[in-house]
């Protein structure tokens, strides 16, 4: 109880209840209403969702083929994986999935004339306007009408540094930093009302992702169509991306997940001890490290190495079982 007593020895001030009635609640009400209005206006401004472009979709999905193959290729038998690997590396190199195969020759300078790019920029700007304008207006309104007095006492103690920010307009030296002005109430509401908006407007409301986007870049990223943009605003060169994906695929090694599925199944039902799997792994690691230095190609799936590794693993496995 001692520490509690110390904490409570802060300044106790009695505030006029009229402040609560005429400042606290109205500011909150105004912010909620402005948020709702802003959401509706954003919906109106955005119009119906843009139609996706067939070629762009194909391009993105084509790129996904590479990542899906890399992620889940181990579920396929080796011949299937190799076939897809060969096909995709060739396709990415030739640019089969590119939206605009001749794009590489276009000069990069006339970026402004690309209509899709301009649309995406306009989108981002619209969203930013919808954010900045209400914020500025409300902050000005609060500063004009509600400055010069203390509004609330925050329930937690703060350091001295916050004094200048939170007590703007009330220049005293001794007042506790927990007593704050109306502007800080505005900021509290700005972040705190996010969940209220989600409750009222559903999860897709306009104020939601705004926070992060504002901090990031001035270019918005369109939900459906716009061409891929890097944060610096230059349209990315899809061909380069395809080439890098191609290299990733070439580097991927295939390790068939079903190599020892029988053993795993027997272990799962308790017919074999779990240590068998550990032994198998060790045997395989030993075998590949033996054959590793002798192979110089990128992929370790040369038939001799695989056969040697499997035979070594099989031999070790049989040895353990008989022991």
């Amino acid at each position: 109880m001692g520490a509690w007593t110390v904490l409570q020895e802060r300044q106790a001030m009695l505030l006029d209840p009229a402040i609560r009635d005429w400042v606290l609640l109205p500011i909150m009400l105004v912010m909620v209403l402005v948020g709702v209005v802003r959401h509706q206006v954003t919906v109106l401004l955005n119009g119906p969702p843009r139609k996706a472009d067939l070629k762009s979709a194909r391009e993105t999905k084509g790129l996904q083929r590479g990542s899906i193959l890399r992620a889940h290729g181990n579920h396929l038998p080796e011949y299937a994986f190799e076939a897809r690997k060969a096909y995709l590396t060739e396709a990415f190199e030739k640019g089969t999935y590119l939206k605009d195969p001749k794009a590489g020759n276009k000069p990069k300078g006339n970026v402004m004339q690309d209509p899709a790019y301009v649309e995406t920029m306009m989108d981002g700007m619209k969203k930013n306007m919808m954010n900045i304008v209400p914020q500025t207006v409300i902050m000005g309104w609060i500063n004009f009408f509600f400055s010069g007095f203390v509004l609330i006492k925050l329930p937690f103690p703060l350091t001295i540094r916050f004094k200048s920010m939170l007590q703007r307009g009330i220049e005293t030296q001794d007042m506790d930093v927990s007593w704050v002005s109306s502007l800080s109430w505005y900021f509290l509401n700005l972040f705190g009302l996010q969940s209220v908006f989600t409750l009222i407007l559903g999860s897709g409301h306009a104020a939601d992702a705004m926070r992060d986007m504002q901090a990031m870049s001035t270019m918005g990223m369109g939900p459906a169509a716009g061409p891929q943009m890097s944060p610096t605003g230059q349209p990315q060169d899809m061909h380069k991306i395809f080439l890098s994906e191609k290299e990733n695929i070439e580097l991927t090694e295939h390790e068939w997940g079903l190599n020892n599925v029988e053993t795993r199944l027997l272990v799962k039902y308790g017919k074999l001890p779990r240590s068998i799997l550990v032994d198998q792994k060790k045997a395989k690691a030993a075998a590949t490290s033996v054959s590793g230095p002798s192979t110089s190609s990128l992929s370790s799936s040369s038939p001799a190495a695989v056969a040697a590794a499997a035979a070594a693993a099989g031999g070790k496995k049989k040895g353990r079982r008989q022991a």
Partner: protein
């Protein structure tokens, strides 16, 4: 788990009761603090009965929540997957084809009901 048998009533009652107690203890705190302000006494911590009321309300509320909540879902994906029937293989809703016997077979049966 005999307690699970009447989740609706007892659990909901417990939740309600716990919430009321919580609310009451919160309000008591507020009143206590305003009393102290009015009397100009320095704050020396909450009186014991409010604290006890608070803890009891939390306990009752917790009990109520546990009774009212749905059954747990399994963690292992395997058990969720096992519920998938093989019917889902042939389903493919966007690819339905309608030139099958069902139209003739079911027509009389359903209409006559």
């Amino acid at each position: 788990m005999a307690v699970q048998q009447s989740p609706s009533y007892f659990g909901k009652l417990a939740c309600l009761f716990g919430f009321l107690l919580l609310f009451h203890s919160g309000y008591s705190t507020f009143e206590h603090l305003s009393y102290l302000k009015a009397v100009d006494g320095h704050e020396s911590g909450l009186p014991t009965d409010i604290v006890v009321e608070l803890l009891v309300s939390v306990a009752i509320f917790g009990l109520g929540i546990v009774l009212v909540a749905d059954n747990f879902k399994e963690i292992l994906m395997e058990t969720e997957m096992a519920k998938q029937s093989i019917e889902s293989l042939d389903a493919r809703p966007s690819f339905y084809s309608f030139n099958h016997r069902g139209r003739a077979v079911f027509r009389n049966v359903v209409l006559k009901k």
